[in-house]
Symmetry: C4
Subunit: 201 residues, 4 copies
C-alpha cells in the first residue's frame, strides 16, 4: 500500500536534469536569434554589404560569450547533480527560479549586443548572470545542508564544489562594477574563469 | 507471434513523457521572446534608454509569472505520471490536446504582456490556462477510472492528487472573473497556489 | 577486435528516435510563432482590440490543426519504430528527409494561416504534408522489405501498419484537390482521419 | 570515500550526447525561420502571390541544404561517440566550441539565403561549416591520442573514421574557393559528400 508520503516521490533528480538539459539546449541555440540578419536593400555594393555585416561583429562576439557562459553554467550544474542524490520540493523550486534566469539570457544578450554602449544594458546582463550564479550556489549549499548529496563525498570535495560554484557570481559582481567605466568591455572579466578555477583547486 | 492487439503496445507512458518534457522546455524558453527588445534609435541618452527599458517591466513580470505557472503544470504532470503506469490511445489524445494549450502559453503571455490594460487580453490568457488546467484534471480522472494508475495507490492519495490538480483551473476561474475589474492584476491570484496546496493537504 | 563492418553499428533506432522526438517537440511549439501578436496601436477601444484579435482566428485554427496533424505523425512514427528493430544508413537518410518536411510545417502553416484565401498557399501546405506522409510510408515499406522489423510480427499486422501509414498522404491528396474549390477549408478533410482509421481496422 | 579526483567523474560521454542531440534538433528546426513568410499586401492576384513565393525558392533550397549538412554532422558525431568511451574537461571544451558553430548555422543560412548574390555571404557560410568541420576532426584526433576511444577498435577503422571526418571540412574549403566565382552555387559541392564517402571506404 502506497501512503500519502509517497506522493512526492516523483521528485527524483533525473526529472530536474531532463528539464535543465532541454532548457539549456534551447537557450544556447536561441542566442543565435540575438544576432539578427541586417535589413539591407539588395542593391548594395559588395563593400557596403561587408560594412553592414561588420556592424554585426559586437553581436556575434556577445553570442559567443553568452554561449560560453551558458556552457559553463551547464557544466557546473552537471558537476553538482553528479553528487546530489535526492531531491525535494524546495530544491525543484530553487532550480525553477534558476532556470528562469537561464532562459532570460538570450534576452539580456540581445540587449547588451544591440546597446553595448549604454551602461544600463551592461547592468541588466551582469545582474542576470549574477542571479543565475547565486541561485546555483544556493542549490548546492541547500543540498549539502539537507543531506541530499552523496554521503560518501568527503568534506574537502564538498567545499571545492562550493568554491567552484562561487566563481561565476563573483565575476559577475566585478563585471557589474567595471560596467560603469568600460560598458560591455567588462565582459572580458569572464575570460578569467578557467584561470581562477585552476588557482583554487 | 505478435497479433494485432499488440499494435497499440507502443503507447507507453515514457513516450508521452518525452514529448511533454520537450514541449515544456521549449515553451518555457520561448516565453523570453515575448519580452522583445525595444526598437530604439541609437542616439538616446542613458536616461531615455532606461525609460524605454522600464516600459518592458510588465512584460518581464508576465514572463516570470508564465514561467512559474508552466513549471507548476510540469510538476503536477510529473506527479500524475509517477502514478500512471499504463497508457492508451485516448490518454495520448487527452495529452496532445493538453500540450496544444501549453504550447499556446507563449502566445497568450505576449498578448497579456503587451495589452495588459485590455480586459480581452486577460480573458485570453486566463482561458488558455483554464483549459490547460481542466485537461490535466481530465487526464488524471480518466486514468483513475480506466485503472491505468498504480493499483497500490490508496484511495485517499488518489483523491489528494485529484484535488491538487484542481487548484490551478480553479484559480484561473477566479482570475478570469477578477480580470473584469483589475485587468492583468488578476494574475496575482496565482500567488495563492502554494498556500492552497498546503491547506488542502 | 572490432573490424570495419562495425563502423556503422552506431545506427541504432534509439538514435533516430531521439532526433525525431526533439524535432517534433520543437516544430509543434514553434507553430505558435505562426500566430503572431497583432501590431496594434495602444490607443484602441476594447471593441476595436477584440476585432483585431478576431482577425487572428483563422491563424489560431490553423495552429490547432497543424499541431493535431504533427501529433498524428508522431504517433504513427512511434507505432512504426515499436516494430522496427534495426536500422541502416538508408533508413537514416529516409528519416532525415522526412524530418526535413516535418520541420517545414511551421513555415507552411504560417503561409496558409496568413494567406488562406489563396489557392497557392493551400497547395504548399498540402504538398508539405503529402511528402511527409509519403516518406514515412516509404520508411515502413523499406523496413519491411529489408527485414529490419520484429520478425515475430505477423503479416496481417504488417499490412495493417502499412494501411494506417497511408491514410494521411491519401487525405493530403484529397485536400490538395479540394483546395482548388474551397481553399483552406479543404483542411476539414483531416477530421476524417480517426474515422477512416476505425473503418480499416 | 570519494576523493577529489572524482569531482570530474560526471563528464561521461552520455552527458555531452544529450546536449548535442538537443542543440541539433533545435538548430535544424530553427533553420525554417530563415525562410521567412513574405510580407505581402492581401490584395494581390493569385499570379502576383505566386511570384512572391517564387522569390522564396533560393531560401527554401538553402534550408534543405543546411538541414542536410547538419544531419551529416549529426551522423558523424554519433559515429565518433559510438567509439569514444571516456571524456574529460578538454573534450567537453572542444565540443562546446563545436556546438557554438553548429548553433550559428541558422544565422549563416539566413545570410546566404537572403544575400546569395554576394561573395561575402557565401564566405561566411563556408567558414562557419569549415570551423565546425575542423572542430569535430580535432575532437576525434584528440580522443584517439588521449586513448579515450574503445581500445578494441583496430587502427584501420580508426583511420577510416578520421578520413570520414575530414570530408566535410575539405568540401567547405573547395566551396570557399568556388564562392569567388559562382557565389552560392558553390554549395553544390556538398552533393559530392556521399560519393566521396563511398570512394574512400
Amino acid at each position: 500500500m502506497t501512503n500519502y508520503s509517497d506522493l512526492n516521490n516523483w521528485m527524483t533528480t533525473s526529472r530536474i536534469e531532463t528539464l535543465v538539459d532541454g532548457i539549456f539546449a534551447i537557450a544556447m541555440t536561441l542566442l543565435v536569434l540575438s544576432i539578427g540578419v541586417p535589413d539591407v536593400s539588395s542593391a548594395l555594393t559588395e563593400a557596403a554589404f561587408q560594412q553592414q555585416l561588420g556592424d554585426l561583429l559586437p553581436k556575434i562576439l556577445m553570442y559567443a560569450l553568452s554561449f560560453w557562459i551558458l556552457a559553463g553554467f551547464w557544466r557546473v550544474n552537471h558537476q553538482q547533480f553528479f553528487f546530489i542524490k535526492r531531491s525535494n520540493a524546495t530544491m525543484i523550486t530553487i532550480n525553477v527560479c534558476w532556470l528562469l534566469f537561464i532562459a532570460l539570457v538570450p534576452f539580456s544578450t540581445e540587449i547588451i549586443g544591440e546597446f553595448g554602449s549604454y551602461f544600463t544594458a551592461s547592468v541588466i546582463f551582469q545582474l542576470n548572470l549574477f542571479f543565475a550564479g547565486v541561485l546555483y550556489c544556493v542549490n548546492w549549499i541547500y543540498a549539502v545542508r539537507k543531506g541530499l548529496i552523496d554521503e560518501n563525498l568527503d568534506e574537502a570535495s564538498q567545499r571545492m564544489v562550493t568554491r567552484t560554484s562561487m566563481i561565476l557570481p563573483f565575476l559577475s559582481l566585478i563585471a557589474l562594477a567595471l560596467s560603469y567605466y568600460v560598458f560591455a568591455w567588462a565582459n572580458l572579466v569572464y575570460m578569467a574563469h578557467p584561470i581562477i578555477k585552476k588557482l583554487i583547486q
